[in-house]
């Protein structure tokens, strides 16, 4: 182990984390026109700016929702509390919803964590693995007698989101350039996110029965169980409702296999 190098790198990182110039200044050569303090400050500014940009890029509308002052406070707090252990800055903000949920003054506004979580899922949808979706024709070729025991596999980009606040509606307002209005708690709403056939990230609201169905798919339930589940909402028309949902998921590229 190159001990002197290791000690110097640790001192450099400690300086970046604390901003205390005395940690690194004794190692820095006096050269060029700028002072040692200026040289150090360039790195410290870049350190914070890089993470600020990552948060801003990954959570573009959260920044608008918070406003400049609260956004800067969030950046300051998050950068200190969460040194990056990731290769990609894309992943750096993965703890942001938890940070907002657990740290004042943000924790007094539960919609913030929910808003950040929704934006995190949009990133996950964008970055998800590719997979070939099946078509309606593929399902028509399956023998009808096998249907009750069949199971669906969803596209890796499919995500579910349940909201107790008007977080998604506020996100949509900001996206449209409209003021989002006040934060309100509301009956739980359900959202389906996925990457469409044209590779664009999409989302839409869904009802409680569809939300329960997709949870059942993720759980590995077969078609018979899913139809049974739907009887809570659709009584005699459960199979028809199931077929309608299935058609919708397949035509939107959300299903990659029926097994």
């Amino acid at each position: 182990m190159p001990k002197a190098l290791q000690a110097l790198e640790q001192a450099f990182l400690d300086y970046l984390l604390t901003g205390d110039p005395d940690i690194l200044a004794p190692h820095v050569a006096v050269k060029g026109k700028s002072s040692v303090d200026t040289k150090l400050q360039i790195y410290n500014n870049a350190y914070k700016m890089r993470f600020r940009e990552a948060i801003d890029t990954n959570h573009e509308l959260l920044g608008l929702y918070l406003g400049d002052e609260l956004f800067e406070a969030m950046v300051d707090g998050y950068v200190v509390k969460h040194p990056s252990r990731y290769t990609s800055l894309r992943d750096y903000t993965s703890h942001l919803p938890d940070f907002l949920r657990n740290n004042a003054p943000f924790s007094a506004h539960p919609i913030l964590a929910e808003f950040a979580n929704f934006e995190r899922l949009l990133l996950d949808v964008f970055d998800a693995l590719d997979a070939v979706s099946i078509s309606i024709e593929d399902i028509r070729m399956l023998p009808a007698e096998n249907w009750p025991e069949m199971r669906l596999r969803l596209h890796p980009s499919v995500q579910l989101f349940a909201a107790e606040w008007n977080s998604v509606e506020s996100w949509q307002c900001l996206r449209a350039g409209v003021s989002p209005g006040a934060a309100n708690s509301q009956p739980e709403s359900y959202w389906l996110l996925w990457r469409g056939l044209d590779r664009l990230s999409e989302f839409r609201s869904m009802t409680a029965d569809e939300y329960a169905l997709i949870q059942a798919i993720v759980h590995g339930d077969d078609f018979a169980n899913m139809c049974e589940l739907l009887t809570q909402w659709h009584t005699e028309e459960a199979p028809v409702a199931f077929i309608n949902y299935l058609n919708n998921w397949i035509s939107n590229g959300m299903v990659i296999a029926i097994v």
């Binding site: 450099f12 050569a29 040194p83």
Partner: protein
Amino acid sequence: MHDSHFLGFGLGLRTPHYDYVIQERPLVDWFEILTENYFVGGGKPKYYLHQVREHYPIVMHGVSLSIGSTDPLNTDYLKQLRALVAEIEPEWISDHLCWTTVNHINSHDLLPLPYTQEALAHVVSRVQQVQDFLGRQILLENPSSYLDFNHADMSEVEFLSEVANQADCFILLDINNIYVSSRNHGFCAEQYLEAIDPKRVRQFHLAGHSDYGDYVIDTHDHNVCDDVWSLYRKALMHFGAVSTMIERDGNIPVFEELHAELAQARQLFLQTLELDEVPKPENLVLHA
């Protein structure tokens, strides 16, 4: 005049230009991609990359190898890198002579090394390990820096040359970085160029920076300035025909504007080397 690895004149492939490049197929000899941007399972970045790869040679440029770190080499990173290399079949791959991570905390910055014998032995050993793992030689880029250390045994250019010789890797010479660091540390940029063995240099970077008078920051958000063009000309005189590209990461203009700046590099190349036309790249394998 030039070796078989000369690719001509390239640009960095950036997200705002994906559609333009695919639809218009501009006359660019090759594109450089930012490696880590394609460490994703799928979606638009990969889709566009494969579209571009069908029509252009690609080189891969990384920022996360952290070759100078005292942490163990990141094998997950290297596996992802190797998989992307197999998928894209780049002409070559590069990263920076720097460190980014220590004690598993990532600064996400290209931080300077102390140019000591101890650091040299460490970096040489790691470059050899990386090249063994990947089964190919890599290029290392001279970093831009804003400080250096007071217990150095050698200059940056001596350190870079020794790494290349001892580890048998190549050099990506960033002309703008030489200029930026020469201003920040007060060394002679021309002497830096002349100290490098031309056989080791496989690519040039050109870029813009922000000039604050007493110091200069490598921001990649401006056009290439006159002083860097002048240094590029001197580099051509010393190294001959080297594949050249322009990096732009901030304040990204429309593609045509970058393309025009690249034409400026091509023109300077022809004038400096007294050629009528750019030598044809050799040994290129494009996907059908």
